[in-house]
Symmetry: C2
Subunit: 236 residues, 2 copies
């Protein structure tokens, strides 16, 4: 029993895509795949002879377009997975808190972590948690669009913080080139929500973020609500 694990980076939106597989059975999962890098990901999956079973999204992204649909067109065994709170019809599986997906000897456990968007999920595999835009390294997701809620995000991060301190944290983004952290480290050093930050202070910090909208939001959100299909159709 051995886990293949490949973090992959998309420079334009600083997005991490994660490819995981059981080395023995070749069954695989990909998390947050991006359209710009779909050929890289397809090549890798094919070279490694992986049997892609699940194309998983942590949430409906606003900063890039997913490659879920193109990947599904190429890998016919794969099912597209979103959190159940996302009101979309292109997903094959709308997963709920605590539900599992199996790939080979491994399990991916879903955890609802709303706040950045209402449909945000985190996923646990082995000693790793994929936190999407809920918990970032030393930071957290913004909460000012797509039914975001700083109050909910506080509770979600507390839920993530119930994992063991040694659990490795793999976020959907990092803008300064960090690739991984740990639960213990984020409890201690996260600048938005450390051990000493209460909900009111967290909400104040999140609401003070004052970020401009992602450049692609008006294209990316509608495209991602249909798993990227419309954009692909436009391009062909």
């Amino acid at each position: 029993m051995s886990l293949l694990f490949r973090p992959l980076f998309e420079k334009e939106s600083s997005t991490y895509t994660y490819l995981l597989a059981d080395v023995d059975t070749k069954e695989a999962i990909i998390i947050d795949a991006v359209d710009n890098t779909q050929q890289r990901d397809i090549d890798l999956i094919e070279e490694l002879g992986l049997d892609l079973r699940y194309i998983v999204e942590t949430h409906i992204h606003a900063d890039h377009i997913t490659s879920s649909c193109p990947l599904k067109q190429r890998f016919r065994n794969a099912q597209i997975v979103f959190g159940a709170a996302n009101l979309i019809t292109c997903a094959d599986i709308l997963i709920k808190d605590g539900e599992n997906l199996n790939f080979g000897s491994y399990q991916m456990i879903a955890m609802t972590t709303p706040g950045h968007t209402n449909g945000c999920m985190s996923y646990i595999v082995d000693d790793k948690v994929f936190t999407g835009d809920a918990l970032l390294i030393r930071s957290c997701g913004r909460c000012d669009f797509q039914d975001g809620s700083a109050e909910k995000l506080f509770d979600s991060i507390q839920k993530i913080f119930t994992l063991a301190n040694e659990t490795l944290v793999y976020p959907a983004h990092d803008y300064v080139g960090r690739t991984v952290s740990s639960i213990g480290e984020e409890k201690q050093f996260n600048e938005m929500i450390g051990d000493s930050v209460d909900k009111d202070e967290f909400m104040r910090r999140v609401n003070a973020m004052d970020l401009s909208l992602p450049a692609k939001i008006h294209v990316a959100v509608p495209a991602n609500q249909v798993c990227g299909t419309k954009i692909m159709a436009d391009r062909t």
Copy 2:
């Protein structure tokens, strides 16, 4: 006994910096640290309470300036490590093929892998090999400056390929966002030097690369030959 391992990415030159530490003793090594991201790296080392022992370079880089000297100024226990073939005086240790550096319960084993430059080293820690610009993911380093030699690089990569197939390959760069490969995978899929490429064909491929010079080469190489000190002096 547990290894802390943090790959870190510098976007401008697509360079990977690697921070490794023994979780118990906190003794740490950093490989190929970059000046642009030195504050990020200093913050991380300090937050984690690491005792930085070795600041290791795979080679004299031509595309970015090292942060070796600034790191050493901050972390006084640390020694700067270069391969012995590099004719520089700023290194504390000029390491030879097969020599080890210890950090806590872990060992880093040095391996000469000339070709991209004559002083190129790879380093083995645990199940990982840090290949610098010798072996890249699906590619390899260029050989057209700093005493590069495609013939030597062929032999160096064959030497790297004697490692177990499961060994994880962490290069100094990847330009399309891949972060890790394996020896078995590179033997099979490397586009420059797979199992079926002989030395003549490899040399032909390397010589056909036809790349423009790195934008920073005339600043970076002299700066890196003094471990980054002159540049730091200019900036203060």
